[in-house]
Amino acid sequence: MSKKGKSAKSSKSARKAKAPARRTARSLMAVAASAKSGVKERVASLNEVTLAASDQDANVTRALDILGNDNEPAEVRMAALEALQTASFSVVAFAPVRGEYLATLRKVATDPNAELRESALGVLARNKDGFAQQKLLEGLQDPGKALVPTETALSLLSFDPHADAYNVARRIASAPPSDDARQEALRLLSADATSAPLFEKLLLDKSEKREVRQLSAAALHSIAPKKFQKRARELVFDPSEYPDIQATSLAAITNFSDPEALANDEPLLKRVDSLSEKSPAKVKQVARRFMTKFKR
């Protein structure tokens, strides 16, 4: 909890009265920028400060300097990054700072500190930055150059469908270094129309992990909805299917199928009716929702 919050709480009764005394951004940044202050104190100041989000403001420049200076302690730089990222939500006011912020982040993206690297690459990737994408792809192709773990790189590349990551994701999905990496590679591919057969196979494979099958359901529903609806119906009828997958399939049918077609699908209505009476709790719940929606 910030100091601001605590002090305000104590003066709750006097809400309409004067605002509680707070340290100004300037004094907070003076503490944050001073090497004489302790790390904890500097981090606390940066956590408390509200930057004016304009390059007219010397405090913003100070925060940028801290972030870009690799002699500063990593915790302090992380706190500066958070304060700047918060300010970046004020898009109009922040526009003049944006260029310098992005350039600083590119520098930080290759910093020795892993947390800083990941955070910087995160901001850049969400802004579809070509530099970050290039670095992330390089790392996937050559693990020696990796700045973040494989799964993180894939997850950051998925922010931009145009990031040119499908090929490398396909490769990783077929020979994954870890379960996490495989899952992220599949998640990235779930926007790739040509991966429909892969997801169909995974969805139907009962030996697959639950997460992977769930993800495959969402992916197939996204890139080949008709095919998925057909498969989902089959899964609902399969007595040996896992309850999780059955519930997911039934939910997709409930929410996204053509209601008219459903109302005339006698066998399905019968099947769901029986599931709503007797099935594991999660399936039963979805089946009941289905029945309230479509029962005549």
């Binding site: 304009s54 390059d55 007219q56 898009v91 109009v92 006011a93 922040f94 526009a95 003049p96 700072v97 944006r98 260029g99 310098e100 992005l102 350039a103 590119r106 520098k107 579809k128 070509g130 530099f131 994408q133 290039q134 931009d160 469908p161 145009h162 990031a163 040119d164 499908y166 090929n167 790739d192 129309a193 040509t194 890139i223 909805p225």
Partner: protein
């Protein structure tokens, strides 16, 4: 050319080297400029970021050598619709290398300035593919202000806009204010503002519109059977939908993340529909939006995308995805697009007007098109068709009837050109050809004498149809050339010692037929010629 083709699948470094080679050779500037075409093989299977790096490097190379008219449209297009910092900055720099500042550039620069503030970031032009890691390099806004300064008083028309931007809250980074002030000062200038008239005419005939006259339009035969599916999942072939009425066709894809391209194109298509409605043409002129990304843009997605942008859909107005034969469609329209996998990596803005036969009658590309202009041109097409119908119902053999222009004589011309080009010339000119190709010792090869009368008949049919066609289009060049060719061939047979002249006869016949069939009615009004 071989070098350009070879780089298709190679690394970006090789591409950068190629750009250097082309830039160093003034004779290969056209090739360098050709690298800016989206459909160029070098962009096949490149990611979007790679495409940006590559195009940017070409723009910078053009900037070093001085921008010529052939590349101007690409630069203006980038300023008009670009949202990538690197390309915006490179385009701004390239524009400054145009031989002389022009008032018509100013609105492009002003638009780019207003947009660039949200895409501003430092860029580095030092080495290929380099990203700036500090503020020391240049930036889109920095380049744009320098270009504005270069335009000077010619940018007077946008002065107010730029001043407003300078004054606005959150407008410009502090570091750029001196550059902005220099630019504003230069625009204010001491000279009188140039003629206001000049502001709207782009140099180099850049109107962004290409038109084809009726007789010269390419038939849609090759894609007649191309299968589509519309926003409701209804299947329809190209021929079924596009034959019968003129159509406005735009290309787009729903995953496009440049709001100035696809999202805007579809929004504008909705406005075109309203304009056509106002003219009472909603049922007479069709509209279609065709996706570049048919695998991803399923019917539901098309429907929502159109609906949310105010596009109406019914039997005459559809959003379409190809379900078979996208490549044929791409070739037919020579689409300005390239892909990585099935995903678009870059595309231009393209709008086509098709006549009632599904033939391309006009195209608008790259530079922003106006809804009024497209609606008006579509209405003209409709009128052209109405005239055709009236005349068809009128007296036969009216010499200037548009229907006659494209009827039997056109077919005859095509057929006889081919016949003359391939069939008769072989027996006549074997000798000439063989000697031309340097096959030794074969001065004369006997040919079947029965071919001679047939050849004469074919030649005469060809001449006749060209005369008709020439009368109709008002372009007799083809007829005269073929006539001269026929005469030469006859003389070569009749006059002893003139035998070798037959090769010239064939050349003339060929050239004349081609001119008439392909080029006779071609009118080019834009530098963005379709290759």
């Amino acid at each position: 050319m071989p070098e350009v083709a070879a780089v298709g699948a190679s690394a970006e470094e090789q591409f950068a080297a190629l750009v250097e080679t082309l830039a160093a050779d003034p004779g290969r500037r056209a090739e360098l400029c050709g690298l800016l075409r989206e459909d160029h093989a070098v962009y096949e299977q490149r990611g979007t970021a790679a495409t940006v790096r590559m195009r940017g490097w070409v723009l910078l190379a053009l900037a070093r050598g001085g921008l010529a008219d052939d590349a101007l449209v690409y630069v203006l297009e980038e300023l008009d619709t670009g949202t990538d910092a690197y390309l915006l900055a490179a385009a701004a720099r390239a524009l400054r290398s145009y031989p002389s500042p022009d008032a018509a550039f100013a609105p492009f620069v002003a638009r780019a300035l207003a947009r660039a503030r949200y895409y501003e970031e430092p860029v580095s032009f030092e080495r290929y593919g380099e990203y700036a890691l500090s503020q020391t390099g240049t930036s889109p806004l920095g380049e744009l202000f320098r270009t504005l300064e270069w335009l000077g008083p010619r940018a007077r028309g946008v002065l107010a806009e730029v001043e407003e931007l300078r004054a606005q809250f959150g407008g410009l980074p502090r570091k750029l204010r001196p550059a902005a002030d220099r630019a504003i000062e230069s625009v204010r200038g001491r000279d009188a503002a140039p003629d206001a008239e000049a502001c709207c005419t782009l140099p180099g005939g850049l109107g962004g519109v290409l038109s084809w006259e009726r007789g010269s339009r390419r038939a849609c035969g090759p894609i007649e059977q191309t299968a589509f599916e519309d926003q409701d999942g209804t299947p329809v072939t190209f021929g079924e939908f596009f034959r019968g009425r003129p159509s406005v066709v735009v290309f787009f894809y729903t995953r496009c993340d440049n709001p100035l391209k696809c999202s805007l194109t579809i929004t504008k298509l909705g406005r075109v529909q309203k304009l056509l409605e106002e003219r009472g043409l909603a049922g007479e002129i069709q509209t279609a939006a065709i996706t570049y990304d048919p695998e991803f843009d399923l019917p539901e997605r098309l429907r929502c995308y159109g609906q949310n942008r105010g596009v109406r859909t019914d039997a005459c107005h559809r959003l379409l995805r190809v379900t078979g034969g996208f490549e044929a469609l791409r070739r037919h329209f020579q689409l300005g697009v390239n892909f990585i996998g099935s995903l678009v990596n870059r595309h231009r803005i393209e709008v086509y007007l098709l006549d009632e036969g599904g033939r391309i009658a006009a195209s608008f590309s790259r530079i922003h098109w106006g809804e009024e202009q497209v609606a008006a041109r579509a209405a003209e097409l409709h009128a052209e068709r109405s005239v055709g119908e009236e005349e068809e119902a009128g007296p036969p053999h009216s010499p200037n009837s548009p229907k006659r222009r494209k009827g039997v004589p056109a077919l005859l011309t095509a057929f006889t050109s081919l016949a003359v080009a391939f069939f008769p010339k072989c027996p006549i000119c074997w000798a000439a050809y063989l000697s031309l190709f340097g096959i030794a010792g074969l001065q004369r090869i006997p040919y079947a004498p029965w071919l001679q009368p047939l050849l004469v008949v074919v030649m005469l049919i060809n001449l006749g149809s060209l005369w008709l066609r020439g009368r109709a289009t008002g372009r007799m060049g083809g007829f005269y050339l073929v006539g001269a060719g026929a005469l030469t061939i006859i003389l070569s047979k009749a006059v002893p010692g003139w035998g070798d002249a037959s090769v010239w006869g064939v050349v003339l016949t060929l050239a004349g037929s081609l001119l008439s069939a392909l080029g006779g009615g071609f009118r080019l009004s834009s530098a963005s010629a379709r290759r």
